[in-house]
Amino acid sequence: MKKIINKPEDVVDEMLDGLVFTSASLIRRLPGTNVILRKQKSEGKVAVVSGGGSGHEPTHAGFVGSGMLAAAVCGPVFTSPTPDQIAAAIKEANQGAGVLLVIKNYSGDIMNFEMAEDLASMDHIEVKHIVVDDDIAVEDSTYTAGKRGVAGTILVHKMMGAAAEAGLSLNELKDLGDQVISSIKTIGVALSAGTVPESGKPGFVLKDNEMEYGVGIHGEPGYRREPIKSSKEIAKELTDKLRDAFKWNASDRYAILVNGLGATPLMEQYIFANDVSEILTKDKIELPFRKVGSYMTSLDMAGISLTLFHLKQDQWLDWLNVPVETTAW
């Protein structure tokens, strides 16, 4: 493992200090916790709080700021934060109109966030949650933990942040969140695994000429391993999966997010985006919102994910577009 770090057990603590140093005008750290709060308050508005394991930078803390997240709770690398930290974030973030938790669909995250919800309710803070499960790589069935939450989460953060700022109530936000999440689907491909600092070894090993479709952002297994393909072929595979899942029609409107997984440079992301755009143009899909970059990463994993978000209402596009003040959006 070659990384620019100090002690592996200190990476999250030091990273958060570095982030706050970088964006000192926007955010602060709740003392004694791994909770990042935004400085500018929105009184009387619902506070949107997210979080999860670290290692996905700039997610989650990079999206704290006005118009987006009120707080992010940062767990150890790839490990859900604990209920006390989440509860502390809820308490600090609450502006009197309640708190909406954005949870990614992992057993650990759901259980810790739900317990925090219980704790917060003892403080008489109204809390609701939504669960992002955009990864269509693994089959969804009642016999599994269900689909995972991956890159689409940043679009959920943006939507919820904008809608909260627009004054929606906690109930309205929760309903909107459920609708939005069911309109977002993601699928990815990995070329190499990330290395958790404390373990020092890559999460899985791909051969020099191999890639794997459908790998999760913690290195969870995908659905097929094969020799590396061209960007065009990868674009075809991933858009085929998304077409199957969405069953779209010509002139449907989608937001698109091409997301680098950590070690993949922008050059490759743009080449891939170009190939995807050619396919979607043939399908006559409209793409009024487009974003390319490394937003939901998996440490130094090489690879890419493709997210589409069916824009069922014009309002949704407006909310994606409204400016925010964050480190990373």
Binding site: S80, T82, G203, P221
Partner: protein
């Protein structure tokens, strides 16, 4: 019956066992999860042992509550809320006048199932808790029963937690949470509480 002293002893033994087996638990988790179960559990049980050593406790409920809070605020991941919920449930039950060990373990198992929604056979710690509970009711809890319950998770296909993403590939591996729960109950026996 649980007393303040033997409960602390039990949980201290558990912390020591987890510390000793930290790498093995992570190894089990590497095979079908994300390889952090040992790190998670030892972080939590070390904090628990420290908290239990710092205070004088008046009741078993207080001991269990303090233990629960340590685990909850230090483990994280999936096992944190599960062990935390188990111990919160046990603490509540310990407050009842006419309780007994079986009822307390029952409350722990209920806490885990309420939190995690796993059924027996889903290849989780629940499998160990329910087998242990059954044996306790029958007065037949032994190390062998516990070992067997842990081993019995190997042939199962995981339906909850991270291992469920592996589908059939989870078959043939012991569930790490089942193993750590096995340690908990072996320490109950080793602590002379039965």
């Amino acid at each position: 019956m649980l007393t303040v002293e033997n409960t602390i002893k039990w949980l201290d033994l558990f912390a020591d066992k987890v510390a000793a087996e930290k790498d093995y638990l992570s190894e089990l988790d590497q095979a079908i999860g994300d390889g952090d179960h040992g790190a998670n559990m030892s972080r939590g049980t070390a904090a628990m042992k420290e908290a239990l050593g710092k205070q004088n406790f008046g009741t078993v409920q207080d001991v269990l509550k303090t233990a629960a809070m340590s685990l909850l605020s230090k483990i994280g991941g999936a096992s944190g809320p599960l062990y935390g919920s188990a111990l919160i449930g046990m603490a509540k039950e310990a407050g009842n006048a006419d309780t007994d060990l079986t009822s307390i373990v029952q409350a722990g198992a209920d806490g885990i199932q309420k939190r995690g929604k796993a059924e027996p056979g889903d290849k989780t710690m629940v499998d160990v808790w329910l087998t242990v509970l059954h044996a306790l009711k029958e007065g037949k809890l032994t190390d062998a029963v516990i070992d067997q319950a842990v081993q019995a998770t190997a042939p199962l296909k995981a339906k909850k937690g991270r291992a469920s993403y592996l589908g059939d590939r989870s078959v043939g591996h012991i569930d790490p949470g089942a193993m750590s729960s096995g340690y908990l109950f072996k320490c109950l026996i080793a602590g002379g509480i039965l």
